[in-house]
């Protein structure tokens, strides 16, 4: 159960002005004073964050830190107890087409009677008016995106007959086909093979060169410095955020993880290595 506050009326212009001031208009995503709670238990607490444009941003934190909830609350999939989110200075409803979302793989029923191409085409549904069937050019675009993730050969295959990594690639292709400016990805690297992981990384870098912003929930600390330019260290609240080289320090990690992981030292040494390279 989620605590709902009554919808805020953006009544007086002074208020609108003050809200505007809190949000960075140029930022692809800016979150202000966001709190999400299940019952009395806050999952996210006073989140303030403005994502830099055109960067690969990793969200890192321990289990139950609210990483997925952060993404869902940004996309209005989970009601917020307080706070607001702006995309390029506008609320989500106005910017829907600019935002792509890759949910966790477990969130859907893979026995669904659909082929890989069908699933990718679903990424275009938001652009097709109601009651209008899928157009040929949308299907062509979907096929093109499948090619981009190296899955064109599997276009007609039923989705339960794909491996975990292939399913993840299909999801990525589905996000690509949305042609968004900002991508939210929920654990895209979870349970995929090494080849897929590499393919995803290459894809992320390509998106970056196109000036897109990717916000990725990530669980493997060791690869963070290699994959992401920016990190957000999250544990209910934002412990630290900023460029990876400055933020992904062992001190910050200890603050995030409460000093319980031996992995931390490895991760810190990975940062150090990156610095010397």
């Amino acid at each position: 159960m989620i605590v709902r506050t009554p919808p805020k009326k953006a009544s007086s212009s002074a208020i609108a002005g003050s809200l505007q001031a809190e949000h960075d208009v140029a930022a692809p995503v800016s979150i202000h004073d966001m709190t999400v709670a299940y019952h009395r238990r806050p999952v996210l607490w006073d989140i303030d964050y403005a994502a830099p444009a055109g960067q690969l941003i990793g969200i890192v934190g321990p289990n139950g830190a609210g990483k997925s909830t952060l993404i869902k609350a940004c996309l209005d999939l989970v009601p917020r107890a307080s706070g607001s989110v702006r995309f390029f200075g506008n609320p989500y409803k106005k910017q829907r087409r600019q935002i792509g979302y890759v949910p966790q793989r477990e969130s859907v029923d893979w026995d669904f009677p659909a082929s890989a191409l069908d699933v990718v085409t679903m990424g275009r549904y938001g652009r097709i008016p109601w009651c209008v069937p899928v157009r040929r050019k949308d299907r062509a675009k979907a096929l093109h995106c499948l090619e981009q993730v190296g899955m064109a050969d599997y276009a007609t295959r039923q989705i339960s007959k794909l491996s975990g990594g292939q399913q993840q690639r299909v999801f990525l292709a589905r996000a690509l086909v949305q042609e968004a400016q900002v991508y939210f990805m929920d654990e895209p690297f979870a349970g995929v093979d090494a080849a897929t992981e590499q393919a995803i990384v290459i894809l992320l870098r390509e998106l970056k060169t196109q000036g897109k912003t990717c916000i990725v929930v990530h669980h493997d600390l060791q690869t963070v410095p290699e994959y992401f330019d920016h990190v957000v260290l999250l544990n209910m609240r934002i412990v630290a955020s900023g460029p990876t080289a400055e933020t992904f320090t062992s001190e910050n990690l200890h603050r995030t993880y409460g000093g319980r992981l031996t992995l931390l030292d490895k991760a810190a040494s990975a940062v150090a290595r990156l610095g010397t390279d």
Binding site: S12, R41, V43, D111, N235, M236, R237, R255, G258
Partner: protein
């Protein structure tokens, strides 16, 4: 006010809890003895006035039609029914009450095992058994028909279990398939029986909608026997049922085979369903399995209490339902019992003290109010930190602190002023009173201690943090709070507000 109300509502639950704490199974034994007593009291008069089961009360009877003329008043009938004056009423009321107990108790386990709707498939699957047994044996002997019903009922349960193993068929579809196809088979057999016209088939239809009014002493005795069996099973297998309901794989690792426990559990459900066919019919018998246990769940978190309560709710539904239906014409008994149970369910859902909807809405509303006030006070305390203590704080300084609208803020300030926590020095600025300042500083300290806790001990249990707790000391041990305070003092060099930090990171 609300709390007193909750306390009163809580009374029976607490009583039952203390009872169950004293001894787990004593309550069951009490129930067992009660049931035995009721059954015997039922058997005795049957020898006295058997053969003349006519009733003065109005049990709905489609075949005899309504007798509107020359009937005594409803209230008179209600009293007759309540006092169990007539033998027929006595049989029906006792039979349905016992059925309610059995269904409530075994339904609790089925409900917790998430097998609630399985009962629906099962009850529909008994129809081909009834019709088939009649076709083959050519007799309306009740034990024969019920044996047939139990046989196909078990077959139906096995079919659901088998279908569920096929990856493309999910559980809900498996239940729907068994339910409709078995019922179809049953209907085909029934229609054949009817066309064969042996003159004996009348009455088989009662299995579909039930005919509590036609319950005979023999039926009630069968129900009583099954109730005893269910209670015995629940007492003897309580540990196993609980283990499997909670975590079947762990139970398996402890040497309790979930397959066998499920088999026994479903066996008891089948028995209850089959004897319930006569009373409430196969469509509604599932209601007696689900509704009492779902209603009991609202009142308690304790399995023993829940089982007892479910039995009680089932019994009350059976008793009140059959009494009501005896007191007015054209009220089908089974349906009335289910409606009574439904009312009890919705009553529980709304009014139960902790899990109830009204209680939790009230709780949430008061928390939201409290939190809003705390936000205001915290914002003011932060403002005071920046400005000087005791100075007036301009509204423009408070407004951007949080994402509240001007109207919300105005309402909050009004409320705080009423509570004498702050004063408005002018239309656009305000000032904390002494009491307000004490509160505000306490809230700010709590907040910062929590933040410090999250930073230092995040690995312990961030999900257990109840940040709106009045005092952090109520949640965390005092030495830990002291340590946090020291850490807070040490960290004076770094800005204490997380928002400042974000600004730097940006």
């Amino acid at each position: 006010m609300a709390r007193r109300w909750i306390d009163i509502l809580n009374c029976p639950t607490r009583w039952a809890q203390s009872l169950s704490r004293k001894s787990h199974s004593s309550a069951f034994w009490v129930g067992l003895v009660l049931c035995l007593g009721i059954t015997f009291s039922l058997v005795r008069p049957c020898n006295a006035d058997q053969g003349e089961p006519t009733s003065a009360t109005h049990f709905d009877n489609a075949h005899t039609g309504s007798q509107a003329d020359g009937q005594p008043s409803t209230s008179h009938l209600l009293i007759r029914a309540l006092t169990l004056r007539d033998h027929r009423t006595r049989v029906v009321v006792i039979g349905t009450t016992l059925l309610g107990i059995a269904a409530g108790v075994i339904g609790t386990f089925a409900y917790l095992r998430k097998r609630a709707m399985m009962g629906d498939a099962l009850s529909h699957a008994t129809l081909p058994g009834v019709a088939g047994a009649f076709m083959i044996m050519g007799t309306k002997n009740l034990p024969v028909l019920l044996t047939g019903a139990a046989a196909t009922g078990v077959l139906g349960v096995l079919c659901v279990a088998g279908l569920r193993r096929i990856p493309r068929i999910k559980e809900d579809a498996a239940i729907g398939i068994v339910l409709s196809v078995f019922f179809g088979i049953g209907m085909v057999l029934m229609s054949l029986v009817q066309e064969m016209n042996t003159g004996q088939e009348a009455g088989l239809n009662t299995f579909i909608y039930g005919k509590a009014a036609a319950l005979l002493v023999q039926d009630a005795q069968i129900i009583g026997g099954v109730t005893l069996l269910v209670l015995l099973g629940a007492v003897l297998l309580f540990k196993e049922f609980r283990a499997v309901c909670f975590d079947s794989s762990f139970a398996a690792s402890q040497g309790i085979s979930p397959t066998w426990v499920d088999f026994l559990m479903m066996g008891l459900v089948v028995l209850t369903t089959v004897v319930g066919l006569q009373a409430v019919g196969l469509i509604l018998v599932v209601a007696l399995l689900i509704i009492p246990s779902a209603a009991a769940r609202f009142w308690t978190d304790h399995l023993v209490v829940m089982t007892l309560l479910a039995g009680l709710i089932g019994a009350v539904s059976g008793w009140i339902g059959s009494t009501i239906s005896a007191s007015a014409p054209r009220l089908p008994t089974g349906a009335i019992i289910v409606i009574v149970a439904g009312c009890l369910f919705f009553g529980s859902m709304l009014f139960a003290p902790h899990r109830g909807v009204i209680a939790s809405l009230a709780r949430r509303w008061s928390i939201a109010r409290k939190v809003a006030l705390q936000h205001l006070l915290r914002a003011l305390a932060e403002c005071e930190e920046l400005a000087d203590r005791g100075k007036t704080i301009p509204l423009e300084m408070v407004l951007p602190k949080r994402s509240w609208s001007a109207a919300q803020l105005r309402r909050l300030i009004q409320r705080a002023t009423r509570l004498a926590l702050l004063e408005r020095s002018s239309s656009s600025s305000l000032q904390l009173t002494t009491a307000g300042r004490i509160d505000a500083e306490r809230i700010l300290r709590n907040h910062r201690l929590w933040e410090m806790y999250l930073i230092k001990y995040a690995d312990i249990a961030p999900s257990h943090v109840d940040r709106d707790a009045d005092e952090i000391e109520h949640i965390l041990p005092v030495p830990l709070v002291q340590e946090l305070e020291r850490a807070l003092l040490d960290s004076e060099a770094t800005p204490p507000s997380p928002h400042g930090e974000e600004g730097a990171a940006r």
